[in-house]
Symmetry: C2
Subunit: 335 residues, 2 copies
């Protein structure tokens, strides 16, 4: 069985762990989001690829969901003593080794896909991990700047961080997400470089050869949306049976701030809203939480098979059950 999984960071990685548990013999290819990649202190940091790699390879900091287990912060402390670079992005010492090795491989002329494969030789994540593209794609956020949190660029007001004068300014996704905590509403996202990017070697092949595609509960805008913005990937997915897992339960994201991203696009932060955003052209099946089972009757989701199961990834067992439900739905839809 061949399964291809476009994935973002923490949510995607945890879903994948459940998927491997339920389908240990499947050949799983992960197409990782690289729009979040950022250069810090000259290091090429690929947060989503690393979160998948560390999670599946047993090196993840389980509590925070990203970064390495029991990491130390000696390098970062010293960089701060120099007053060097941004102080809002956490990089542990063990994590920095990953970025150093990746950066030196890129400097030597290797593409990101080859550098990722080299890193995975150590971690053996049990999947083929591919970046969505070897070309640089950077997710930029256009700030709305009204600070009232509803995502609408309206009357100026309030005294919150960056209010007013931030409007229209464009920042790197990580600056918005990590430094600002998405506290300034986004007016939109720009996947800089995506239109000219080519899928990394193996990406279109993995989609073409897949028995089906699963969309984990990753951020539909800045994780899955970025991957879909690389020309050729969405088309290749439309030719396949695609089953998604809703990242929204009862109107709120399970993790992260997907609602703030959806607001910028005018998409309702609901299981129905996200599925309608993906659309019936792309999506064949959609897993929602039991509290969202009414989605099965939503007219917007005509053509999408909706199934309701418990969707909180509260434990490895619960996560495996979600993966099992996704597998079952995909196999039902193919037969």
């Amino acid at each position: 069985m061949r399964i291809t999984v476009p994935a973002g960071g923490v949510g995607g990685a945890r879903f994948l762990r459940g998927l491997i548990a339920e389908a240990p013999d499947a050949e799983i290819t992960v197409i990782g989001n690289t729009g979040d990649d950022i250069t810090l202190f000259g290091l090429h940091v690929s947060p989503d690829l690393d979160t998948v790699m560390y999670t599946l390879g047993g090196g993840i900091n389980e509590e925070q969901g990203w970064g390495r287990t029991a990491d130390t912060y000696h390098v970062l402390r010293e960089l701060a003593a120099y007053g060097a670079g941004p102080d809002w992005f956490s990089l542990g010492d063990a994590d920095i080794a990953t970025h150093l090795y990746r950066t030196s491989m890129l400097a030597a002329g290797l593409p990101l896909s080859a550098a990722t494969a080299a890193l995975c030789q150590r971690w053996r994540p049990g999947v083929t991990l591919l970046p969505m593209s070897d070309d640089r794609v950077e997710t930029h956020v256009v700030l709305a700047g009204d600070g009232d949190g509803d995502g609408a660029a309206g009357a100026a007001g309030g005294a919150t961080h960056g209010t007013g004068n931030e409007a229209g300014r464009t920042v790197h996704f990580q600056e918005w997400w990590v430094r600002m905590g998405a506290g300034v509403p986004a007016a939109g996202f720009d996947f800089a470089g995506a239109a000219e990017a080519t899928p990394a070697p193996g990406v279109l092949e993995a989609l073409a050869e897949a028995d089906f595609v699963l969309l984990p509960p990753s951020n539909p805008v800045v994780s899955i949306g970025t991957i879909l913005a690389v020309p050729g990937i969405a088309d290749a997915m439309r030719a396949k049976t695609v089953v998604g897992v809703s990242p929204i339960i009862g109107g709120a994201p399970v993790r992260g701030m997907a609602d703030k991203c959806l607001a910028a696009l005018g998409v309702a932060a609901s299981a129905v809203g996200v599925a309608a955003h993906y659309g019936p052209d792309l999506l064949d099946g959609w897993l929602v939480d039991e509290q969202d089972k009414a989605a099965a009757d939503a007219p917007e989701l005509a053509g999408i098979t909706v199934r309701a199961v418990p969707l909180y990834m509260s434990s490895p067992v619960a996560t495996a059950a979600i993966a099992r439900a996704a597998l079952d739905l995909a196999q039902d839809l193919r037969s």
Copy 2:
């Protein structure tokens, strides 16, 4: 009082600490050797500049003479787990922060001199620390490969590391010095890039404006020799009163493996040999250890004023006394 000091690593740095103690009001400019610089894991490492900076700035690991106090090795351990890069060069986590900051400044287009100045804003070494050149100069070692330690490429034999088949191979200085422990004799040194290099901004000015120049007991071949290989520096020094401190006491280097470097050039490892190698054109005064006081009568050193004092830098007090003797000799020679 203005003093300019071409310097290598540990010996130069310790001498400088004594010099600052004895001449606290002097404006001291250090011209640092960068021939030992090496790129490791994509990081630009400047061992000699850092040893001077850390030693004078209070961050040095006193016991080993280089690297940072109480450093940890988490990044290096992780790089080894990846099987990445060489395993014979020690880089602590705090030290890596220095290299990361330097490398990111160089990548942003700053010359090494500006990056060095930025690093020194934190360490405040009490001297103006200049690299000998902003151009890349790399000390390469041509291996003799006979393994008998006399530096002559003779009959092959023995079972020592790299014997025989290493002959003629050229390696980076650090590979010879650190990985091989200078265990394979050198047939010669190549200061690659030196002939085309320009002294860094401030170097020739510091020499022109100096009241005198002091040569610390640094390696005369691969530290001072490299600096002298940058066109313009030796000429500027010849116009000045130059007093040197012998790095050889009683036929052996005080520290390091200067004897192995001198052998490659056919220079005797003695206080007389080194002074004759520098030559009376360059050198006006020469401090030797009391056990080498016969050097004062050596015909090879005609034209060089030789003075014998205790030269072991066995304590800060002893080192300050050596610096005081060098200062006194320079001032005597100028008057």
